[in-house]
Symmetry: C2
Subunit: 239 residues, 2 copies
């Protein structure tokens, strides 16, 4: 009985998110179907980040326990032949018996991609937020710097939430410009539902001083809008 640590990449456009839902196409649903095909038996499926509908992943991590199945060096290829084209197994490794992609994760990184060109790009649709209006990049940098450290993020998750604890520790938060692309990168121990998207939506709308005041446990109504899912990428998970 080996535990397999699987790194996944997916284009979130045509998925109703990670979590299985009856009658909807979800990432976990497709992964389960592929595991059924490739492994004789498997159990204890866990995932680092339960991404929402439309959210992408470059380095999502899932884990499961397998009884029999292909040798590890051929596991990713075997899964890929069973997975749809918009979901790929990038690598498969063995992990310790007590490894869980969810509970063993020390930190996660997300990035949010914004397209700054005056014209919307056919190649950027569904992969970034198109924002042709002016933006104060210095102010965005200031807001990002305020995120570092421990804060109560309850203003940045829906009120009807399943979370009990709203404090998270942010170890990296910055905006980077590369040509017409402006990208926000954030690393934290874990994230609340919609947290990155609401942080981005609020930074785009609010002055740094006002934004900073929202980081200490304010109600949801005072934060800004939730940026759309198609700009968001789960980038990496740290163990």
């Amino acid at each position: 009985m080996a535990v397999v640590k699987l790194t996944l990449e997916y284009d979130g456009t045509e998925f109703a998110g990670w979590v299985p839902q009856p009658g909807r196409r979800t990432v976990e649903g497709e992964l389960r179907a592929a595991l059924d095909q490739v492994y004789g038996g498997w159990s204890r499926l866990a995932v680092a980040g339960r991404t929402d509908a439309g959210v992408h992943a470059l380095g999502q991590v899932a884990s499961f326990q397998a009884e029999k199945g292909p040798p590890l060096e051929r596991a990713a290829a075997a899964l890929n032949s069973a997975l749809p084209e918009d979901l790929a197994a990038v690598s498969a490794e063995t992990a310790p018996e007590d490894f869980s992609a969810r509970f063993s994760a020390r930190a996660r990184s997300y990035r949010y991609r914004i397209w700054r060109c005056a014209t919307a790009s056919p190649f950027e649709r569904r992969r970034s937020l198109w924002w042709p209006r002016p933006l104060e990049e210095d102010a965005l940098a200031e807001s990002a710097a305020l995120l570092l450290g421990k804060h109560d993020f309850r203003a940045f998750t829906p009120t009807e939430t399943e979370h009990d604890v709203f404090v998270r520790t942010v170890s990296e938060a910055e905006w980077r410009r590369d040509g017409e692309v402006l990208e926000f990168r954030i690393t934290a121990d874990s994230f609340l539902r919609h947290m990155v998207r609401t942080l981005v939506g609020t930074m785009l709308e609010a002055e740094p001083a006002a934004f900073g005041q929202l980081l200490e446990g304010r109600p949801r109504e005072v934060a800004g809008s939730t940026a759309p899912p198609w700009g968001l990428y789960l980038e990496q998970v740290y163990y």
Copy 2:
């Protein structure tokens, strides 16, 4: 009566190519519908490169004569509000009375994108050819160099072709590597149907010496396969 020179970008995935066909969604068909909406009257529509189904464009150029319509500085935005998301007007300029996007073009550049990673990428599907097998990049560079100058390319276009003249002059041809992406770039006065795709398919299969022998008016059967359309981009048109 002004002539408008329009630069277009499109994701070719969901188009049955440029040329209008009954019952099919084509780039020209969508552009005509947008022109009808935005301009009171228009005529003499011309295009630099009649791309095939699935082929993309970063800098396609079309021209038309307009009677009335929005001021030039708002023309691209007005067209974009009438165009679908996978087709964008990047810019609109005035051109001389006798300008034709097709006949005034001095040269066109294409690029062909190949994804060299062992794993297919969900973000590269439909945008590059996935080629995980070994490739001799030195040999590809040698083949590309042989393309420079004047050659008879009849081996690289379907036998049932509408072309009369098969000689083309290539001014740039090279392979470039950027991370996991290998890209072929070619500039010529004009191109035969399927020419870039068949050049790429043949270079991937044949030794430079054998490839070089195909450049002097050989029959279609002796050249290699036609690489799939989703790796091909019309990059730029020169006037």
